[in-house]
Amino acid sequence: MNAVAASDRAPAEAVFLLGRLVVVPDHSGALWLPDERTLVVADLHLEKGSSYARRGVFLPPYDSAATLATLSAAIARHAPTRVIALGDSFHDREADIRLGEDNRATLQRLQAGRDWLWVTGNHDPQIGAAMGGDSAATVDLRGVTLRHEPDAQETGFEIAGHLHPAAKIRMRGRALRRRCFALSARRCVMPAMGAYAGGLNLRDEAFRPLLGPGFSAHLMGDARLFRIDPRLLLPD
């Protein structure tokens, strides 16, 4: 056998079933639905940087470009016929107006030749027409509801964002905190893709009603996703 570093030994692409829907978590933070040829992304928070700038906090104005670059790479990898952005795609109601020329052009290029659906979120209850695509509050795919904010009352299957799940582990004396997917039998909570989006620890109360005991956490490494036993996850 060839000696390879442990981190390169990626297990075969992990495939899961939510009801009748096949879902494949992607290490970019996107969720690939191969049967639907659909790519789902959550919480892009475009123009979060310039939102702070309005208050005199000049974060580097490259977050939208960085986020769109991540999105572009995921789209290039899967060539979806449809992209669904699962809400909070824009950090505030004027974010679409502030979005720079280059980023607009990138977005238009990504939208060309495929369906594009903005699911609305609490940060972006309305999407400006100039941003292209359609918008809706929820979508149903093969009996799975896609919505921005997970609904604890949901009795069927659900894919949601909103909470920005992140997980923390400690190994070799070093603590690591990474964005992650949280997957249970009935629900997938997706990580935020926005470059400046923070993360909420999976051990936070907010996740308790959403994830049963048998959930799995898929942490975003640099090269791939890592599936970590929930018992190893630490609170902040």
Binding site: F58, P60, R172, A175, I228, D236
Partner: protein, 828 residues
């Protein structure tokens, strides 16, 4: 006839009434002040420095016949407590001479009403700190307020100039020289290596202050503590010497026991109380303890109720808390000048010798103590080089000036260049900083409409609105606390057997620990804090919840988190010379000289100017030990970079440890064999290009670098100390600045803030500068010694394993290991 006195009669009478005469250096300062010259006074403790500093002001205030003309003298001290102390000390001469001068302090504790009143009706003499000065200088009325200023007194100047606080202070001094051209400054300092650096700091880069030196009083009586037990090979607890230290405490009136870290303080305090059969009042004082507890200890010291205080650098500076007659320094001194200042804490009168005992914890430290003793005997100094002004501090200052009356760029640039740390500031860097403050300074100009600074038609820069000024005032200063967790003693409730005990919140706060320390613990771990052994129960919000461990529990978490101060280059050179010269070994304790003889026999001694590298197998693993003597920070960076290179060379490194003297790394590949067959070259391994791509790659993910960036970002005002919406939990800020760092590094690597971060990393936590100098020095002079066993010197480095292990920072490796734990379980 005697020469007419230079002093007004009231002063002569006062000196006479106490049986004193004014000392020559006090009169020299008076002369210089009358001629409008700035002066640096270098004097040992007890030389009447404070009075010398204030004498010209008091005389002048008396001579101007009581007419109030606004603020006359500004006194700046590094510590709030010191300013308060000085106010008390000035009270006596002023009262006894019947002077009309008014003295007030202005600190963070001063009420808003009093601040406002001080701006309208300033005292003659105002005592304050660098941060408060920055706030005054940025005040709308700074110009009229300071227009009458004649004198600035800077206390403990040697301590002020070594940090970013010094950078900020130098900029504010430059401002004061512009606002009050008639002002002159007096700097009070302990002995330093390069007084010329301080003279330039004080007077301005082009107009250095004069120098008055008072030769040190009685020579200190310093010895190395003799203990009946043999010195250990490694370790930092100094447990072997506690009995002897206890005896020394008994034999003196008040002893200060200095240690280098808070952890060592905890250990020493605990160990002394274990053997305290006489119930001597021994107290503990360090920066992490609750402030009220510290105040209690200080008061007890001043009242003479204590026999000994175990303390860290928090008591380094010149406050007289009591009649200290012995200083004990546990562990290596790390720097000769620091040692001398600590020793000066005892016998605070010039004509009596200070008494001090050095207590090495291990054999390397004994060599270091010897080197320090020699340095003290020669009065050789190793204070740090003068700083190059930090750009993040400059950004804060530029915003401050904009908040007062605004500035013309050309004039402000010229003014800033008179501040000695910024004498070499490039105009391009200055302009970049101004643009950073105004709109973030990004190549992508998208924040113009939100600009914090705006230029009027005449080119004058001003803060855009009142909210900016308010933001600035909330964020002033250069001290960025590492994220701290409060340690709360919860009330424990025993759980069922096999279940973790439940601890409720609501107990007493014992103090604070750094977050990263708490992160290394898992519930159930025990550690020493505030003199007790605590059981860590978990983190809740901003608190580390703990319970009291049952009696007899051993603390599990190592109590040493590394010396705060790395070994000075100067002492390192002396230790190296001592190692290379067997003639000097006879005077060393037997266990130390035989240790060195054994090293010579079994391996070789590291010679000055070369780098000794040993390789050997041990327990199925292969080790490489190098002895650069460059301090643990530089060694840690070296270890990080070296393991990357060994990884590429297929040596499969597993980890490394380091101390101040050497670094050991180990792995699964046989390095001796690889070197012998030419597959691994030490010259290439240690070549200077390590500081190129390897460094860049590592910095991209280094937690230390991200922490450095966060500090720069806060100081520069990119993000606020209290990030909007996240006031509740400082720990979320760490995450956010990491994201900002990643984005900025990828999209604008030449941004001024990254430049500031790299400059910090070069001298700060990563000590890249020193590593670079070492790599240059040893280039082509690496001596390889393959061995069958670990060498005697190597043992001392390797014993850090398990205590201090540091691993690579590649995140995916760590994630993969965590993932594998799941797989193993599934396969079992």
């Amino acid at each position: 006839m005697p020469a007419p006195s230079p002093l007004p009669p009231a002063f002569d009478d006062w000196f006479a009434s106490r049986g004193w005469t004014a000392r020559p250096h006090q009169l020299a300062l008076l002369d210089a002040a009358r001629a409008g010259r700035s002066t640096l006074l270098v004097a040992p403790t007890g030389a009447g420095k404070t009075l010398a500093g204030f004498l010209p002001s008091l005389v002048e205030l008396t001579e101007r016949s009581g007419k109030r003309e606004g603020l006359h003298t500004l006194y700046i001290s590094p510590l709030k407590a010191l300013a308060v102390d000085i106010a008390r000390n000035l009270d006596a001469p002023i009262r006894e001479m019947g002077l009309a001068s008014t003295v007030e302090t202005r600190t963070g504790d001063t009420s808003a009403a009093k601040r406002t009143r001080q701006m309208q009706r300033p005292p003659d003499i105002l005592l304050t700190t660098p941060e408060q000065l920055a706030l005054l200088v940025s005040h709308r009325d700074a110009a009229p307020f300071f227009s009458s200023l004649r004198r600035i007194v800077l206390d403990e100047l040697h301590a002020l100039v070594t940090s970013k606080r010094g950078d900020l202070l130098s900029l504010d001094l430059a401002r004061l020289r512009s606002l009050a051209p008639q002002v002159s400054a007096v700097g009070l300092s302990a002995t330093v290596r390069e007084p010329a650096d301080l003279q330039r700091f004080l007077g301005g880069s082009e107009t250095p202050a004069g120098l008055v030196t008072v030769k040190g009083g009685a020579a200190a009586r310093i010895g190395i503590l003799q203990t009946p037990t043999r010195l250990p090979m490694a370790g930092h607890t100094t447990g072997h010497a506690m009995g002897a230290i206890y005896e020394a405490i008994k034999a003196h009136k008040l002893t200060l026991v200095f240690v280098n870290t808070r952890m060592q303080a905890e250990f020493a305090f605990q160990a002394l109380w274990t053997i305290n059969d006489d119930n001597l009042p021994i107290a503990l004082h360090h920066g992490s303890l609750d402030a009220t507890q510290r105040r209690k200890v200080e008061a007890a010291m001043a009242e003479g109720r204590l026999k000994a205080v175990v303390c860290t650098a928090t008591l380094d500076l010149g406050i007289d808390w009591g009649d200290v007659d012995l200083v004990v320094n546990i562990g290596a001194p790390k720097g000769a000048s620091r040692l001398m200042q600590r020793i000066g804490r005892s016998n605070h009168r010039m004509d009596e010798p200070s008494q001090a005992l050095l207590v090495p914890s291990n054999r390397f430290e004994l060599l270091e103590c010897r080197a320090a003793l020699d340095a003290v005997a020669e009065a050789a100094q190793d204070t740090a080089d003068a700083r190059i002004g930090a750009l993040d501090v400059l950004a804060q200052h530029v915003l401050g000036v904009a908040c007062s009356d605004g500035f013309e760029a050309d004039a402000l640039y010229a003014e800033i260049c008179t501040a000695s740390p910024y004498a070499g500031l490039a105009r391009a860097d200055f302009d970049a900083v101004v643009h950073f403050v105004a709109t973030g300074g990004y190549a992508l100009k998208s924040y113009e409409r939100f600009a914090k600074l705006r230029q009027d038609k005449a080119g004058h820069w001003r803060a855009s609105n009142a909210k900016i000024i308010q933001q600035y005032r909330m964020n002033v200063g250069t001290i960025v606390e590492s994220t701290m967790l409060k340690v709360r003693l919860g009330r424990g409730r025993a759980g069922k057997p096999g279940e973790p005990s439940r601890v409720t919140r609501g107990g007493r706060i014992l103090g604070e620990v750094e977050e990263y320390f708490a992160e290394t613990m898992t519930p159930g771990d025990t550690f020493i804090f505030a003199g007790e052994i605590l059981r860590f129960e978990g983190i809740a919000g901003n608190e580390a919840i703990c319970s009291r461990a049952p009696p007899g529990t051993d603390p599990k978490i190592p109590s040493y988190n590394g010396g705060k101060f790395p070994l000075s280059t100067f002492l390192a050179a002396r230790v190296r010379a001592m190692l290379a010269n067997p003639g000097e070994w006879d005077s060393l304790p037997e266990e130390v000289s035989s240790w060195l003889h054994a090293q010579r026999l079994k391996s070789r001694l590291p010679q000055p100017g070369e780098l000794l590298v040993e390789t050997f197998p041990r327990g199925g693993r292969f080790y490489l030990v190098a002895y650069p003597f460059e301090g643990r920070l530089a060694h840690q960076t070296l270890g990080m970079l070296l393991t990357r290179r060994l990884e590429r060379a297929k040596m499969r490194p597993l980890g490394f440890v380091c101390n101040d003297y050497g670094m050991a790394c180990w792995g699964l590949g046989d390095m001796s064999a690889a070197i012998a067959r030419g597959a691994l070259s030490l010259d290439e391994l240690f070549s200077q290009d390590m500081l190129g791509d390897d460094l860049e790659e590592w910095l991209a993910e280094s937690a230390l670098m991200k922490r450095t960036f966060r500090q720069c970002a806060v100081i520069a005002g990119l993000i606020e100390r209290r990030f909007p919406g996240q006031e509740k939990n400082g720990r979320q800020v760490t995450m956010s600045t990491d994201l900002v760092y990643d984005v900025l590094r990828r999209h604008e690597p030449e941004h001024v803030l990254l430049k500031a971060t790299r400059a910090d990393a070069a001298t700060g936590l990563l000590d890249i500068k020193r590593l670079g100098q070492m790599l240059t020095r040893i280039s082509g002079r690496i001596v390889h010694q393959p061995l069958d066993h670990v060498s005697p010197l190597g043992v001392s480095v390797m014993l850090e394993i398990g205590r201090e292990a540091v691993y690579g920072e590649a995140a995916d490796e760590i994630l993969a290991e965590a993932e594998a734990m799941l797989t193993e379980e599934a396969m079992a």
